[in-house]
Symmetry: C2
Subunit: 436 residues, 2 copies
């Protein structure tokens, strides 16, 4: 949205945990506000200095410290780029338990600080389960040395968990220890067209039951999102004809023959039962990439006309897509959506991680228009609150969602969170004006 | 060990979260110490009233509140018995992501409070990843209502994580929301004899690589543990002849044919490469249970002669078994181990969750003998500290390990933990004399 513009007079690039400690201690003693910054790829303004905060950029701390091939435990600096780490692990026949669009620039420290979700969560679970240890520096310069490589350690409160999703408000993560799964020998991708969201749910249930342990992604894209990708890229569509909904299914497993057999059986089932209308199975790595591009390319394509209002929401599955319909209806009847230049909105689309009940509601616009924002907020947040959903499934709070946390959290929970913030950062120097 | 004897004049059995809240508020206002108690099956004295604490027993809060078959999310009272919940889930084609020997009496609230590990962790990961929400009552009576059913919710600090493994020292868990996996259609169990711990490690690496996504347990038992089980039960051994080490491997998956094929291929590999000396594959459910009994029966059989010193340790895999050898050597050369009544120790055995680097070192004794304890402690803890292991992998701290936390945690971490304790329980009424 080009919504936030950073203002700072100083960017510090520490090269070690000790340097981070000295910098934070100095800032804390002198009441200087700081903003920790990883790859700066967040979507809620969390890494932006709002007034004149000092930016502490972690990019120089980018060493892989240790990897154990038997247990799959990786220890690395916070400033390592996700894709670099994943390539390193690929050579060792392992993968990072997280993958997301920004992998080429985001830092693993930032991933942990924002509790990133992404494309592999369905299979490998959340970072709260996969992060074995964290080294972080507290505002007063204390180094929290909890870089455990142990899978099990029941000796006291699991304090590092507060830093997973803490968005740099109680300390700066300088190193992480991560449990990395073995890389699968086989990966398959299928792409479907479906006639309704009911069919999408049926397909998801069938995939969970029949693909079970090899299912590694179940992604949803609506017809409009694919129309807009097509309008921008002009690439040949994966399927003939058009459908209201599309799904991308990925499997990964240790035996290519077994996986293919399971997937073919699944395809036969969903085709013969008319759960899906049409489908295609990638035949090689190029086709795998090409099919994924229809999902991963959405965010960039939507920005083609101007700015995009992005909402990252958790919604109970049966109602997941209803929000897109309700929002589209609301904006359309307000006369804000159309093909013509005179309408501010190009389209209202929904896509996301169906397997995690995580919807990305995106409104692609031609220009900033106050009316659009007024119609969207607090409408979207109220809609979510009514269904006990989350107003930020995986993007975090940052600056953008700070004011809206009350739609997803009770007063009690917010009070308990503020206690934690006050405990660790009594001077309020860490990433101020944001989060809770 | 019959080491702890509870002393209390009052056991309270609340029937609702509101009643827990009123009880705790009263106790907090009047400075009365309390001990939360689930199934009372812990091994570190965590649920024992040390002096005259009031016991708050959760057994009356045993309702399953909600289950959603599409997402697999279960919401249940803390006092539900694990096995009851697992049977309920079995009917719905799902399983609880945790299994352990005490399942017939332990409570799921207690499992979460102690961050129980158990037999399914290798496959489904830790409770830090699988618990979606927690309802807990704080010492001042505040109800922390964080019973989220969402798989993703990045809106603020994940405070519920402090209660996972908090051992009832900052509040009482009254309800949990859990992500439950689909129940596998096929389950297979194999049992091996191996000549050395090096071979055990080779077998583990082969299992990770070849069984990969269907591997659900890799358990280790040493020869002495099996000798003692045999001495007590007099059952026919699964394999002809005797071996220094045994492993039990379980697979579970969605396609019985595929799983059998993978397992047979794996068996062929480890037999032909002489990684294992002998092996057997369970042919039916009775044999599955029978093979598991050689692993699950160990703790009970070891108690046959008297008390058992139990250590639950995380150790980097290559050195996992060395502790058993070193301890056995130490106790034997001190003249404490023998077949005869005159020796206090019957045997020093090692077994555990190889897949999680989690060893159970057990010393079976005929009677209490001060010399035995003196030789064991702090020797075992110092041995662990030197290798950056954990002195409590899955049993927790409770009363038994409180004094030894310094062997696994730095002064900084202990200080940060005490801060948390003081923040939530300033009067120190919750499970005092224990934990940190």
């Amino acid at each position: 949205m080009r919504k936030y513009k950073g203002h700072t007079k100083l960017v510090i690039k520490p090269g070690s945990t000790d340097e981070v400690s000295k910098v934070l201690k100095y800032c804390n003693d002198n009441m200087l506000a700081v903003v920790p910054q990883g790859g700066n790829s967040g979507l809620v303004g969390g890494s932006i200095p709002v007034y004149d905060e000092i930016v502490i950029n972690m990019s120089r701390m980018n060493n892989i410290r240790d990897f154990d091939e038997v247990s799959g435990t990786l220890v690395a600096d916070a400033g390592c780029i996700l894709e670099v780490v994943d390539h390193f692990l690929a050579e060792k026949n392992h993968i990072f338990p997280l993958d997301l669009g920004a992998k080429g620039s985001c830092h693993i420290g930032g991933n942990v600080a924002t509790n990133a979700g992404g494309l592999r969560l369905l299979r490998y679970g959340s970072l709260h389960g996969n992060i074995l240890g964290i080294e972080a520096v507290l505002p007063d310069g204390t180094v929290m040395d909890d870089l455990s490589k142990l899978r099990k350690n029941n000796t006291g409160y699991d304090i590092k968990q507060l830093f997973i999703g803490g968005e740099g408000t109680i300390g700066i993560i300088t190193g992480v220890s991560v449990l990395c799964p073995q890389r699968s020998k086989a990966a398959n991708v299928a792409f479907f067209g479906l006639e309704s969201f009911e069919k999408v749910q049926e397909a998801f249930r069938a995939a969970k039951s029949q693909l079970s342990e090899i299912l590694s992604a179940f992604e949803l894209m609506d017809g409009q999102s694919q129309d807009l990708v097509h309008a921008v890229t002009d690439k040949k569509r994966p399927l003939e004809g058009q459908h209201p909904f599309y799904c991308l299914i990925e499997t990964s497993g240790s035996n290519p023959d077994h996986d293919s057999e399971k997937l073919e059986k699944f395809l036969e089932h969903v085709m013969s039962e008319e759960i899906v209308s049409d489908g295609v199975l990638a035949q090689d790595e190029t086709q795998v990439q090409s099919l994924w591009s229809w999902r991963e390319g959405i965010p960039e394509c939507l920005g083609h006309w101007g700015g995009v209002y992005k909402y990252d929401l958790s919604i109970p599955l049966p109602e997941l897509y209803k929000l897109v319909e309700d929002t589209r209806e609301r904006l359309t009847s307000a006369g804000l959506v159309g093909d013509d230049e005179k309408y501010p909105i190009v389209g209202v689309v929904g896509y996301g991680h169906m397997g995690d009940s995580n919807l990305h509601l995106n409104v692609a616009t031609r220009r900033f228009d106050k009316e659009v924002e007024k119609k969207l907020e607090p409408f979207v947040y109220e809609w979510i609150a009514k269904r006990n959903g989350s107003i930020s499934a995986e993007h975090g709070l940052g600056l953008a969602k700070k004011a809206f946390i009350g739609y997803s959290r009770s007063e009690t929970m917010i009070r308990l969170m503020k206690q934690i913030k006050d405990l660790y950062d009594p001077n309020g120097i860490m990433n101020p004006y944001k989060y809770i």
